[in-house]
Point group: C2
Chain length 152, copies 2
C-alpha cells in the first residue's frame, strides 16, 4: 500500500527516483521485491533510516541505515541487516558482537522513507554496552509538559 | 556525555563539522545549547533524524527531522518541533492538525546523530489519520525468527 505523500521531497530527493542506481551507495544488484522498491523513497545516498525497536518491551534500541539490499536481507534472513555508512558494507547486526537482532516485523512509514523493524535483541544494542543507544545522553527527562500544563 | 564514536562518518559527513552553517539548511541563528550543538552530528543538509515515541505505550509514532533550532525549541517549549524538508520551515507538530506532541524526554544516541523524543501524542500521529506512521504498510509481521529457530 502506498498512501498519498504529504511531504514531497525537494528536487534533490525526487519522489520519482528510480529504485536502483540513484547513487554509488544504492544497491544495483538488490533483490528487493520490486513492488517495495518502487515505493521506497531514499535519501540522495540511496539509504533510508531504519529504527530498531525491541518487539515486546517497546524500547527504541538504535537507528541504522538500509539500502534496498539490506532491507531485502532483513526481510528474508530473519536477521536485521544494515548498510554501514562508515565501512561502506553490509552489517549483519551481531555478527561481530553476538548482539543479534532477530526480526519480528518490518514496516514502512506512510511516506515509505523510513523503516521500523521490531526485533528480539540479544544483549546490548549499543556498541558501548548499553542496552539501547539512547541510554547515555539524555538531554531532558520527566518533562512536565502535557495537555493540562500547556493547554491545547 | 559524548561516548566514543564507533562509526566515523566519511569525509562528506565530517565528525568535526562546525555546528553552524554546514549548509543552507542548518540554523545559523540557533539558540541550541552550545554544549549540545558541539557534539551533534548532522547530515550534509544540517539535519538529524528524530524519532517520536509515545512515552507510556512505547509506540514508535513517526520519524521527522530536526536542525539545531528545532531541537532547541523541542527542548525548551514542551512541544515537539521539526524542520519540514518539504516546506523548508519549522513545523510545530499539531499546530495545524491539533495532533500535538507534548515532550516528555529527549535523548541523543551514542553517536549524537539521532534524537529520540518521548512524547504524549494527542490523537493521530500520522497525517493519514492512523495512530502511527507505521501502521499501514507492514511488510512482514509475526516472523518466527528467534534465538531458538535461527540459532546464534
Amino acid at each position: 500500500m502506498a498512501p498519498m505523500t504529504r511531504k514531497p521531497h525537494p528536487a534533490r530527493h525526487p519522489t520519482t527516483a528510480p529504485h536502483r542506481g540513484a547513487s554509488r551507495h544504492s544497491s544495483p544488484s538488490s533483490r528487493l521485491d520490486p513492488a517495495i522498491a518502487a515505493r521506497l523513497k531514499r535519501s540522495t545516498d540511496g539509504l533510508v533510516p531504519a529504527i530498531a525497536q525491541q518487539y515486546d518491551t517497546g524500547e527504541v534500541l538504535m537507528l541504522g541505515w538500509m539500502n534496498d539490499e539490506a532491507l531485502h536481507r532483513t526481510l528474508t534472513t530473519g536477521r536485521c541487516t544494515y548498510w554501514s555508512r562508515s565501512r561502506q558494507e553490509y552489517w549483519v547486526k551481531g555478527d561481530t558482537s553476538g548482539h543479534v537482532q532477530y526480526v519480528k516485523s518490518v514496516a514502512l512509514d506512510c511516506d515509505a522513507d523510513t523503516v521500523l523493524v521490531k526485533v528480539d535483541q540479544v544483549g546490548a544494542a549499543c556498541h558501548t554496552g548499553a542496552r539501547t543507544c539512547f541510554d547515555a545522553d539524555v538531554l531532558i527527562e520527566d518533562a512536565v509538559s502535557d495537555v493540562q500544563s500547556l493547554g491545547q
